[in-house]
């Protein structure tokens, strides 16, 4: 029917909808919770959310595409958030990005072919003293150099292959 529609198990959303009113959750919160479940926001999920929250589908997609947190495409198992804040910029974040892109052969916003890594540059992770910084899933890595960054990525890959 359409791109990224998927055949998501929409019953997973029931709990969110059930508690929506009680928690005073707005559309953003609902989308955040849905993304936690699916890892991204498939189109059928967005539709279901529109249906159940009473917001028009146009509004739901409008919100989902406004905020950088929301992803409409699947991401890799490891999501690299590379900080490009001011301090990181001054301390060489561009070089780190280059190293990641060369190592993984992807660009900002892309996912590696094997689905292991996705790269997303972000405005600021608020760890400026450790700049340059990146976050892979929940873990933060600071004081990066291109060589160390590549080593971290290879280490993850080794772990995955083992």
């Amino acid at each position: 029917m359409c791109e990224n529609c998927g055949n998501s198990d929409l019953s997973l959303l029931n709990d969110i909808f059930a508690k929506m009113a009680e928690n005073g959750d707005n559309l953003i919160t609902v989308l955040q919770k849905a993304q936690e479940i699916y890892g991204y926001l498939p189109t059928d999920v967005l539709y279901e959310i529109a249906e159940k929250t009473g917001a028009s589908p146009a509004k739901v997609i409008g919100v989902a595409t406004f905020y950088t947190q929301f992803r409409l495409k699947k991401v890799g198992k490891y999501l690299i958030l590379l900080c490009k804040g001011t301090a990181c910029h001054v301390n060489g974040a561009d070089g780190i990005e280059k190293a990641i892109c060369e190592e993984l052969k992807i660009k900002d916003g892309d996912t590696t072919e094997d689905g292991l890594f996705s790269l997303k540059t972000v405005a600021c992770l608020g760890c400026c003293s450790l700049s340059p910084v990146m976050m892979i899933n929940e873990e933060t890595y600071g004081s990066l150099t291109p060589a160390r960054t590549v080593e971290i990525l290879r280490e993850i890959r080794r772990r995955e292959e083992a």
């Binding site: 359409c2 539709y47 028009s56 146009a58 997609i61 905020y67």
Partner: protein, 676 residues
């Protein structure tokens, strides 16, 4: 609970409700504050930044759409700061607004004929409408349609799909259809003004101006030195390209309008310019460029050397110039093509074109070159006459210098340079020099000229150095050019003659418009559909006589061809708020061009076509759909520069949800939305 307050807007004392915004209060008092994202029925949005006004005592500009009036406020809607802010807002919008206000065909036509409109009319089968549209600019559509080198087609965007629309032949087709029907399309005439205008020269320029001036109620007389009207169309274009009965029919219609035609009058001989000036309230000189230029080559005075247009004129007058069996034509333009093909038809057995560059540089139209080749003309590229050799005072041969192309200059043009010592000799009975033409100043000595000897005419008003005397066409400024350019100048000149006669002044301002810089990748959505080929008589047949070589299009062919039009010009031009403001506030709307936002075209709503390239994100359609139509099917998608407006993301069923109220398109301040 609303109180009234007193304030001053643009020096005008106003009483308004304290609930009113400045914009509303101004509007109620007949002061228009520009805006692009505002609609009275909805809450203000604040996106366009056009409604900013200055308030005394406020360092910041106020957005009039949302700022409320207050007691004692002093508002200036046209202050320098506000104007500057609007200008930059518009320049930013225009720099990200991708669309053609006017079709490139119309823009590139020197006379701005509304090609897109008449092509559409032809595709709808409305030939009369088409001819009216053309005649708005060109009084001789069947003739011009046959001979025009069609700059419109050069600009046609369809070439990015495969080939341009055959606009000129469509024009000829529509005009022929109407001529065939016996119907005369003659413009409405205004009441007589009692003013008289003399036009010197009955060619395309003179006749066009005559029509325009007659339409405006002036009494017009056209003087021409030749026995019949039509100028170069009659005496420069061979019959096989333009049958003179077609021209006669079209000129007859001009006569029906009440234009007086006086032939066989040469200025300076039969009547002087001052006599004419005395007799008439205004004069337009449009006597063309009828003298063949010399190539400054020894032997040019020999018998058997003809000027290109002199030769064509002689043939048109029914004479048979003695060109013999072997002839050569010097030059690479359309006149050279006409001359060589005429020579073929006169029975010459060996006809050559002598041209100093290569085919790629030839100024003549491709089709003319091809047709000449088909008819057996021999092309000698990279040769240039060094000497015309005579025997007993008569041409017997030409010595040709062999040329080569030099290094490209700054503009990439490669000029020909002689190959030292290399010559060819060509035996000839005659030689025709078609290397340009110029005007004849005889009889117009009182008028200031340019350094090239042409009449100096103001490029905007076409006024000459003599009061009440105007000049247009080949006789002026840069000299000979194509017919449609002469027509364009004549139409403009007519406008200023009219103003001169009425004693009014026309302020000059070039309209600001939006134009795209087309590239092929913008046109990938269109299916390829080849351009129509004009059916023609076979070369071996047509080279023997002067009967028209083109057989004309059938209505089916013409309609199919017209349907290829991409309708580049915006449907909203004329109503578009954006361009109206751009025209009044900007000087250069391309200044802040850069990367464009993502654009796309879509018709999923079935009743509305969206061209997102033209969208300025005023949000009016989205808000109207939500707040007024109560449908909410349009939405903003993405953020920042990449924001676009789309109908909701579901692919199916969307049209059935749309109320088809079309309100979104009605409120769109640009041509981004079109009602289908």
């Amino acid at each position: 609970m609303s109180d009234t307050v007193k304030l001053i807007i643009d020096g005008k004392e106003i009483t308004a409700s304290s609930e009113d915004t400045i914009l509303l209060a101004a509007e109620k008092n007949g002061i228009e504050i520009p805006n692009l994202c505002y609609l009275k029925e909805m809450s203000p949005y604040g996106a366009c930044g056009m409604c900013v006004v200055e308030a005394e005592g406020s360092p910041k500009l106020l957005r009039a759409c949302s700022a409320k009036v207050a007691e004692g406020m002093v508002i200036n809607t046209m202050g320098e700061r506000a104007l500057k802010a609007r200008k930059i807002a518009l320049e930013l919008i225009m720099g990200d607004h991708k669309g053609d206000c006017i079709g490139p065909c119309k823009l590139n036509c020197p006379a701005h004929t509304d090609c897109q409109k008449y092509v559409k009319e032809i595709s709808d089968g409305d030939y009369e409408g088409a001819v009216r549209t053309i005649k708005d600019v060109i009084p001789l559509p069947a003739s011009i349609g046959r001979v025009c080198p069609h700059p419109c087609e050069t600009a046609c965007r369809r070439q990015f799909v495969e080939e341009p629309i055959s606009i000129a032949y469509l024009k000829a087709f529509a005009a022929d259809e109407i001529l065939k029907s016996g119907k005369h399309i003659i413009p409405e005439k205004k009441a007589s003004t009692g003013k008289t205008v003399a036009i010197i020269g009955g060619g395309p320029a003179g006749l066009s101006a005559a029509v325009k001036l007659a339409e405006n109620g002036h009494s017009v007389s056209v003087y021409d030195k030749m026995p019949k009207m039509g100028g170069m169309l009659r005496y420069g274009i061979p019959e096989y390209r333009l049958p003179k009965k077609v021209l006669d029919a079209e000129i007859a219609e001009i006569e029906m309008l009440g234009v007086k035609m006086v032939n066989n009058i040469t200025i300076g001989k039969d009547i002087t310019l001052s006599e004419i000036r005395e007799k008439y309230d205004a004069v337009l000189i449009a006597n063309g460029a009828w003298k063949s230029s010399s190539i400054r080559c020894p032997g040019e005075d020999l018998e058997g050397v003809f000027g290109g247009i002199d030769f064509l004129r002689a043939v048109a007058l029914g004479e048979s110039p003695a060109i013999g069996k072997k002839t050569a034509i010097v030059g690479g333009g359309n006149t050279a093509m006409d001359a060589c093909r005429t020579a073929v038809r006169l029975g010459a057995e060996e006809v050559s074109i002598i041209y100093r560059r290569t085919r790629d540089e030839m100024p003549a139209e491709d089709i003319e070159i091809e047709e000449a080749m088909e008819e057996g003309v021999n092309f000698r590229f990279l040769t240039n006459p060094a000497e015309i050799i005579g025997k007993d005072g008569k041409v017997c041969a030409v010595k040709l210098q062999v040329m080569k192309l030099g290094e490209p200059d700054e503009k990439g043009r490669r000029s020909p340079v002689p190959v030292e010592g290399e010559f060819i000799t060509l035996e000839l009975d005659s030689i025709i020099i078609a290397a340009g033409q110029k005007n004849d100043p005889a009889g117009f000595e009182d008028i200031a000229t340019t350094k090239w000897g042409t009449i100096s005419a103001d490029e905007i008003t076409y006024a000459t150095s003599l009061l009440g005397v105007f000049a247009a066409g080949d006789t002026t400024n840069s000299g000979a050019s194509i017919a449609i350019k002469a027509i364009a100048e004549a139409n403009e000149a007519a406008k200023f003659i009219d103003a001169y006669l009425e004693g009014i002044e026309i302020p000059y301002k070039k309209a600001v418009i939006s134009e795209i810089d087309p590239t092929e990748d913008m046109f990938t959505e269109y299916e390829k559909y080849p351009r129509i080929r004009m059916p023609q008589r076979a070369p071996e047949d047509r080279r023997n006589d002067f009967t028209e070589i083109n057989l004309g299009l059938t209505p089916e062919e013409a309609k199919a061809e017209a349907k290829r039009c991409l309708s580049c010009g915006c449907h909203d031009y004329g109503h578009c708020k954006l361009i109206k403001y751009a025209d009044s506030y900007c000087t250069d709307c391309k200044r802040l061009k850069g990367e464009y936002h993502e654009g796309f075209k879509e018709t999923r709503l079935e009743v509305i076509a969206r061209d997102q390239h033209k969208c300025i994100l005023c949000g009016l359609c989205v808000r109207t759909c939500e707040e007024i139509a109560k449908k909410g099917i349009l939405g903003l998608v993405g953020r920042g520069f990449d924001t676009v407006i789309r109908p909701e993301f579901r692919n199916t069923d969307i049209a059935s949800i749309c109320a088809s109220c079309k309100k979104c398109a009605q409120v769109c301040p640009t041509g981004a939305l079109r009602i289908l």
